[in-house]
């Protein structure tokens, strides 16, 4: 098993290398002169030359890439063009809100979606099944921001149960923190819930037909135990796979949700940076997100070995 784990970990290195290469190239693929972009509004031609020299734009591409990677590994992600602050610092300021949002959404989605899928599979063919699947397909189809606006309007403005926007750091208390995250997590989680519920239902359907389920039933196991202990455990591999893949959806959706709910997170930072062509920030954030995504999927792959002893590849 250890050999498998080590192999999997090593396999992420070339993946990250590719991501790093792509991200690094962004600045140089862009139209226009990167030095002019960085030098800014009021720069004289001398300033632009100075910056070009400091960026080493006359040196070979691979040399520049190597230096960039070296700096990244030391934690230096460069400096933002627009704010003149270190990119690492800007990311660090905004990581907590996004992380909170994603974790809360993940927990919310998983804890709603899996029971939904299980129940739908159990009651296959009945109106419950159709309702669940109908809701799932509908969640896929409505864009996140529309859901966000509706939720904000109904629950925050009209009913005044929750705040309209903003983010409260966890250090100020659990409930204030949670209050600000409920609506965004619900909006963001919709698509995720749909995805997980569908896969859960499909996998459960197959598992429920298996012989060992019939055996368990014959042995007198209760319905709940059959569904959640015997069946779900065996269905877990595809479900966990989808949870992992779905993190990419969360990251994408967070971008919009943070805009609608004015959460000062990484998603908004990314959008602002991209619209402004603030390449150092774009590079830093895309690198970070990809790294997290790779780690999460690595974790899931490793989780497989615990969930399903048959997987040993």
């Amino acid at each position: 098993m250890w050999a498998y784990i080590i192999r999997r970990v090593l396999a992420t290195i070339p993946v990250m290398a590719f991501v790093a290469l792509f991200v690094f190239s962004l600045l140089y693929l862009a139209p226009g002169d990167p030095a002019a972009v960085i030098a800014g509004d009021q720069a004289t031609p001398d300033d632009v030359e100075r910056i070009r020299a400091s960026l080493g734009l006359d040196r070979p591409y691979l040399v520049r890439f190597g230096e960039w990677v070296f700096r990244i590994l030391q934690g230096d992600l460069g400096t933002s063009i627009f704010t003149n602050l270190p990119v690492g610092h800007m990311i660090q300021q905004r990581i907590e809100p996004t992380l909170s949002l994603m974790i809360v959404t993940l927990i919310l989605a998983v804890s709603i979606a899996i029971p939904m899928g299980v129940v739908a599979a159990w009651k296959q063919g009945t109106w419950i099944d159709r309702a669940v699947m109908g809701f799932a397909v509908l969640s896929f189809s409505v864009p996140v921001f529309v859901v966000g606006y509706l939720l904000a309007y109904i629950f925050a403005l009209e009913l005044d149960w929750l705040p309209v926007q903003g983010y409260t750091p966890f250090s100020e208390g659990f409930f204030p923190w949670m209050e600000n995250l409920v609506l965004p997590a619900t909006a963001l989680g919709g698509v995720y819930i749909a995805l997980i519920a569908r896969i859960t239902r499909a996998t459960m359907l197959e598992v429920l037909q298996q012989d060992y389920i019939r055996t368990a039933r014959a042995k007198g196991a209760g319905q709940g135990s059959i569904l959640f202990v015997h069946a779900l455990k065996n269905a877990s591999v595809p479900i966990v796979t989808v949870i992992g893949i779905g993190i990419a959806l969360l990251i994408g959706g967070a971008v919009v949700t943070e805009s609608v709910f004015a959460i000062p997170g990484l998603g908004r930072l990314t959008v602002d940076a991209i619209l402004r062509r603030d390449y150092p920030v774009i590079q830093g954030v895309v690198l970070l997100f990809s790294f997290v995504y790779v780690l999460v999927n690595l974790g899931i792959d490793l989780l497989y070995t615990f969930l399903d002893p048959r997987i040993r590849y």
């Binding site: 226009g32 002019a36 972009v37 800014g40 509004d41 009021q42 720069a43 004289t44 300033d47 933002s80 627009f82 704010t83 003149n84 602050l85 800007m90 660090q92 300021q93 905004r94 990581i95 907590e96 809100p97 992380l99 909170s100 974790i103 927990i107 606006y149 904000a152 309007y153 925050a156 403005l157 005044d160 705040p163 309209v164 926007q165 903003g166 750091p169 966890f170 250090s171 100020e172 659990f174 805009s259 609608v260 709910f261 004015a262 000062p264 908004r268 930072l269 602002d272 619209l275 402004r276 062509r277």
Partner: protein
């Protein structure tokens, strides 16, 4: 089990990663939360000339003079000045007890360094430098400015609201070259900037400066005592106007600088929100042309556009259907002010597409592309861009529409290359009415070619008119000079004004002391 772990883990992460002070109930009551017109990305008020930068800078830095609501400059940091009888030597004396936020006293040499940094980047400052013989610190509290010709508007130059304003900063910071940004935000103004709590793009935090001693007098705009009545000011950046409106209604923010006019009826209906005109001097919209390259280097093409442009369309698109909020301009200066003139401006007041097309044909326009830079993230500029694209197409021009963001517009408009090589043909912006009352401080009307504002118009007759105005001894001659400037500016199309409009501001009922003005004034504002 898993859940609790996750949460405590996040808490630990939160405590370290997002160092923000826990706001107790008391402090929350004395915290004013304000939604600014735009994001505060960088904060150097000499380097960055956007209004939002100036608005924040006015809190952290103080000025030698400050205009009051009649646009008359009043002494602020100076105790008084004496002018020699020939008008060539100005002696200034600073007030006692002026201190920077880091504890060091404000000295005359800090003032000299600050003025030296500001002057090259401001048209009025440039004019003064051209006639400057010496600017020295005589001792710690006195400095002298010697000129070779009289410049009666010197105090206005030092106290105006038009950007860049002459903010006074420590000598070491003012030593940063004018075309690079500085990174230390230390001033002597009524509030300090909490750098460690600044999240660019999300929020900026200011705290009342304990060491600030307001001067005596009555507070009026930038003049008089700047007494800050709250402990903390938070600027909350909200990219989404719908969210800002909801936040104001829910009481999560206290004051919104520029609500869009369509949402104003919604805000007015709320019993705890007050809405009023933000600035009686309003704003002038601008279709800014690049005089250096085709097609707008051709006078007839410019005139054709001015003829085709329908200010009503622009104003409705920008400010909505409420006609109290806008009017059509017959010139380049601010309506409702004593010197407003419509001399020579008849062509601006109505749109004539047919005549414009004929003029365009006469001009020899060879279908060169018109590269339009339009900032999509600015609620005032995006609709103007859409109306422009439509109008230019109907006029028969070849539109190259570059939909980008305001920051990029800011960068690209400084490029003097031809449009096809990273340059531009036109962009939209607006000017605060306070800056357009007369030629002093009105950067956009200056037409001295390479040194002028973006677009670099080169119209000697306008410059001649401006010189006349500066030299004018009597109000009547001033009036005549303004008429001349207006006529020449219209017939040579320095730029095309798209109309005069006012905007609203909205605040919660428990906030008192909000006044109308060209920028939001935070002194005198209290929260109960």
């Amino acid at each position: 089990m898993e859940r609790r772990h996750l949460l405590t883990g996040a808490a630990a992460l939160g405590a370290t990663a997002f160092a923000g002070p826990a706001i107790s109930q008391n402090v929350a009551a004395r915290t004013l939360r304000f939604v600014p017109q735009a994001n505060l990305a960088n904060f150097d008020p000499i380097w960055g000339t956007q209004y939002v930068v100036r608005n924040a800078a006015a809190l952290v830095w103080d000025m030698l003079y400050g205009v009051d609501e009649n646009l008359v400059p009043q002494p602020q940091m100076v105790e008084g000045e004496t002018v020699s009888s020939d008008g060539l030597t100005w002696d200034f004396r600073l007030r006692a007890g002026l201190v920077f936020h880091d504890g060091t006293p404000v000295l005359a040499r800090d003032v000299v360094a600050s003025i030296t940094r500001w002057a090259p980047r401001d048209p009025m400052g440039q004019m003064i430098r051209a006639i400057q013989q010496e600017l020295v610190a005589v001792d710690d509290r006195n400095f002298r400015w010697k000129l070779s010709r009289p410049y009666p508007k010197l105090k206005f130059a030092l106290g105006k609201t038009g950007t860049p304003c002459c903010f006074i900063m420590p000598e070491r910071i003012a030593g940063t070259a004018g075309n690079s940004m500085f990174t230390e935000y230390v001033g002597s103004g009524p509030m300090t900037f909490k750098r460690d709590e600044w999240v660019p793009g999300a929020r900026a935090v200011f705290e009342r400066a304990a060491r600030y001693t307001p001067r005596e007098g009555t507070a009026s705009w930038l003049a008089g005592p700047k007494r800050v009545l709250v402990d903390r000011l938070e600027w909350v950046v909200m990219p989404d106007p719908a969210t800002a409106a909801n936040a104001l209604q829910a009481g999560e923010v206290d004051w919104w600088e520029s609500p869009i006019s369509d949402l104003v009826p919604l805000l007015r209906r709320h019993r705890n929100i007050l809405v009023d005109i933000a600035d009686p001097l309003g704003n002038i919209g601008s279709f800014r042309m690049n005089h250096m390259h085709a097609p707008f280097n051709n006078l007839k093409v410019r005139q054709a556009v001015m003829m085709a442009l329908n200010q009503q369309d622009y104003m409705r698109a920008v400010v909505g259907s409420d006609t109290n909020l806008w009017s059509v301009l017959g010139g380049f200066f601010t309506p409702g002010t004593p010197n407003y003139t419509e001399a020579g401006g008849a062509v601006m007041k109505s749109a004539n597409m047919d005549a414009a097309r004929r003029l365009l044909a006469e001009s020899g326009y060879a279908n060169e592309p018109v590269t339009c830079l339009v900032g999509q993230d600015q609620p005032l500029l995006k609709p103007m861009g859409d109306v422009t694209a439509d109008m230019l197409r109907r006029l028969g021009m070849n539109v190259d529409f570059v939909a980008t963001d305001w920051g990029t517009v800011g960068q690209r408009r400084a490029m003097r290359n031809p449009p096809g090589q990273g340059g531009w043909s036109m962009f939209h912006t607006w000017h605060a009415g306070a800056d357009c009352v007369n030629p002093a401080g009105y950067n956009a009307i200056r037409a001295h070619g390479d040194g002028a504002w973006f677009g670099w118009p080169n119209v000697p007759s306008v410059e001649a008119g401006i010189t006349e105005w500066y030299d004018a001894p009597t109000p009547a001659t001033e009036r005549a000079a303004m008429d001349k400037i207006n006529t020449e500016a219209v017939s040579n199309v320095v730029y095309v004004p798209t109309g005069f409009f006012k905007s609203y501001q909205a605040w919660r009922r428990n906030i008192t002391g909000v006044v109308k003005g060209p920028l939001p004034f935070f002194w005198g504002v209290a929260k109960s």
